[in-house]
Amino acid sequence: MLHTVVALVEDRPGVLNRVASLFRRRGFNIESLAVGTTHEDGISRMTIIVDGHEGIVDQVEKQLIKLVDVIKVEDLTHAEAVNRELALIKVRCTAENRREVLEIASVFRAQAVDLSPESVILQAVAQRDRVNGLLDNLRSYGVMELMRTGRVSMRRGTQVTAYGDQNGESEEMHRFHHESGRLPEGELPFASD
């Protein structure tokens, strides 16, 4: 079964490495992983789709939160949530069958975002199933290229998945946590001896 796990992580070097390494090492199966910034300064958000039974997902959550750079973990699998992924699909089609392809796209509420004499790029922002349905219908035309971002998830209503600590970090700690570990800007003196 697929589970939707959301992790709020410190935006610092190596955090993606730590999370990926954890999944590899413990043999957890990642179906998709999407990372981006949040409204909270210094915090990134990962939506991780994990394949496995309940016990595995329990371990995934606990091992994730054990990472020092992971601030919060929530399982949105059974939550009332908006789940979306973005897919870009380049389909082979010519003037003759373009109309058919666009009709299929509109049934699945996908948009054409690029046209050429022999291809069209469709953009779908949808739940996984709808993207799958769209793809099934496009296969016979020839899918030339496909790119899916993986799911992102957000709870419906006022409940949020956020760190939400008003006090936040002291300025000093914030600077330390989010600026340290990065190569300083500008030329460094050459020092190879």
Binding site: E10, R18, Q59, I65, L67, V68, L188, F190, S192
Partner: protein, 588 residues
């Protein structure tokens, strides 16, 4: 996942033990900042090995005479020594290595500390910042290589970040479930100047240190404990780490529950205590394994439900209810289905439990275990006879130090390690220093060095495998330099004994790559200029131990023990604890 209301866990701590550091606010080089940090944190013993990129740090060592640098002979040895230093004292150990090969030589020691939750600060130099990622001379991605083997790690790119990094790293290494933390420092960061500023508080928002349990959790546990007819306690390393022996004893006595320990839990409860039933697990005693298999309630305390301790998980004891107290919630339900998982520090949770449970005793259950222990004493007996056995040597070393409250026993990994666990009568926390989770051969010599440096007045005996000894014995040179009077007792069976045992029992006597030719260990002693004693028969053992103890310097003892003895009892690999066997005839 259910969550209950629990007392808030700590996610920050006052980072200043007392007054601010004397150098606070001064402009210093990165190297000086590192040494000021170690000094302020009280971590002033460093097991290290120099190299190009850490030279700026070494250059400043003489200016900080309070920092004691011990030059080891291999970085792995430095890592194990720092690890044993931490195990012997409960305080942070520090190991230092150069970039590239220095850092990669640390890997075994880092993972060893990780598996056994030992607070060690591993410091490595790296190539200068502008060379990082360019495959410069002696560049290795130490941060990446060590990432899965540490509790946390850092690559410090600015001298101004050194002090907060050290404050945070030390906080992480020593709190909660302790563990190794690694700091990687490019060469030019040691040279860069910055204002030394040790932060007032450390605040890590993704890290919490659990303390006490919630009332609900305690109630749920107490109900089951009060209702149990055949309860058993499995005490692990957490009891030792958290200095909770007294709390464990009080709880066991109040609820009348027999106590088994894991390998690393040995010493958590005095073995002479009436409720102490020794070690369980692959080479645990027969009665201990049967007690764990037949209990109706299993209470795991500060242990991680490891396969060497519990055997085949599915068949440990499916009928039993499990209560599991551990500071690391990720250990709950990882290997064993648990009815009452409690996230907390045993030091705080045990008194809560003691106060919540009814005073009880379980005479029938205890008698059942006692009867088993009597009936199966033979498989644990020290063999008598003309031959020199490891069991006998261990027993005699234990007897010679029976009244020595400070003796520290270090081991390697293999048969001799298990015989030490069985026959050394480990009765105090931190008395036994052994590599449990990783099972690292070669731990025995450098760990003995670290333990003796940490406890200069203690009698430190390292029971070495002849195989493991040869992996790291170059640290004898360090012992000579540091004048650490360690006693290195090689159990010379001419074999990788534990592997030989497996080949005998599970590979039909097909002995492959387990018989070893040995150097003349007395000549090794001579070469290093230390005392050597060879022991060939049981009659010579006591005198040899006396001589070694009386000698003020390091001693190498070559015990010529029987070659083909097996460790019993044994839970065959992949078997359940209830399938413990006591002789080769029982192995199918």
């Amino acid at each position: 996942m259910t969550t209950t209301q629990r007392p808030p866990a700590r996610d920050e701590q006052q980072a200043r033990p007392s007054a601010p550091p004397p150098a606070q606010g001064r402009r210093l080089s990165g190297a000086d900042i590192v040494l000021e940090c170690l000094t302020y944190a009280g971590a002033t013993t460093v097991f290290g090995y120099p190299g190009g990129v850490v030279l700026p740090l070494y250059d400043r060592l003489p200016a900080h005479p309070q920092v004691r640098h011990i030059l080891v002979r291999h970085e792995q040895g430095g890592g194990h020594a720092a690890d044993a230093y931490a195990r012997a004292t409960g305080e942070l150990g520090v190991a230092l290595a150069t970039s590239g090969p220095g850092a990669t030589n640390l890997v075994t020691a880092v993972q060893n500390a990780m598996m056994d939750s030992v607070p060690v600060l591993f410091l490595t130099g790296n190539v200068a910042r502008n060379l990082i990622g360019r495959d410069g001379f002696q560049e290795a991605d130490a941060t990446g290589i060590l990432m899965p083997a540490v509790k946390h790690n850092y690559l410090v790119m600015r001298a101004q970040d050194l002090a907060p990094t050290f404050a945070e790293a030390i906080y992480l290494a020593t709190t909660g479930r302790p563990g190794p933390v690694h700091i990687d420092i490019p060469k030019d960061v040691f040279l860069e100047e910055a204002e030394f500023h040790w932060p007032e508080r450390v605040h890590v928002r993704g890290y919490q240190v659990p303390g006490a349990a919630s009332e609900e959790e305690i109630r749920a546990a107490a109900e089951r404990i009060d209702a149990a007819e055949r309860p058993i306690i499995l005490a692990g390393h957490g009891i030792v780490i958290s200095r909770s022996s007294e709390e464990l004893q009080a709880f066991a006595e109040r609820a009348g529950i027999p106590v088994l320990t894991t390998l690393l839990g040995l010493g958590g409860l005095d073995q002479r205590h009436a409720l102490s039933y020794g070690m369980m697990g692959m080479h645990g005693s027969y009665h201990a394994n049967m007690a764990a298999s037949n209990a109706d309630l299993i209470i795991g305390l500060g242990m991680r439900m490891d396969d060497r301790a519990l055997g085949r998980f599915a068949d440990l004891n499916p009928a039993a209810t499990v209560i599991h107290v551990d500071i690391d919630p990720a250990e709950h339900n990882k290997n064993i289905d648990t009815a009452v998982p409690i996230t907390g520090d045993v030091k705080e949770v045990l008194p809560q439990l003691t106060a919540a449970v009814k005073r009880a005793s379980h005479p029938e259950w205890v008698r059942w275990i006692d009867d088993l222990a009597r009936a199966h004493a033979d498989s644990l007996a020290v063999p008598e006879g003309p031959e020199l056995t490891v069991q006998y040597v261990v027993q005699q070393i234990a007897r010679a130090h029976a009244h020595d409250d400070d003796a520290v026993i270090v081991t390697g990994v293999g048969q001799h390690q298990m015989w030490v666990a069985q026959h050394m009568s480990i009765s105090r926390p931190r008395q036994l220093i052994t590599s449990g989770g990783l099972g690292t051969m070669g731990f025995e010599v450098p760990a003995a060095l670290g333990a003796q440096v940490a406890r200069p007045d203690a009698s430190v005996w390292s029971i070495c495998g002849d195989g493991g000894f040869q992996m790291t014995f170059q640290e004898i040179a360090t012992m000579v330099d540091e004048q650490t009077p360690v006693k290195l007792a090689i159990m010379n069976n001419g074999y990788l004994g534990m592997v030989r045992q497996w080949q005998e029992l599970f590979y039909k006597d097909n002995y492959v790559a387990v018989s070893m030719s040995q150097p003349d260990f007395m000549k090794i002693a001579e070469a290093y200029g230390i005392k050597g004693i060879r022991v060939e028969e049981p009659g010579q053992v006591d005198a040899a131990i006396r001589d070694a103890d009386a000698h003020p310097g390091p001693v190498l003892l070559d015990f010529r023990v029987t070659a083909d003895d097996n460790v019993w009892p044994m839970v065959p690999a992949g078997a359940a604890l209830s399938e413990t066997v006591e002789s080769a005839d029982e192995v199918v």
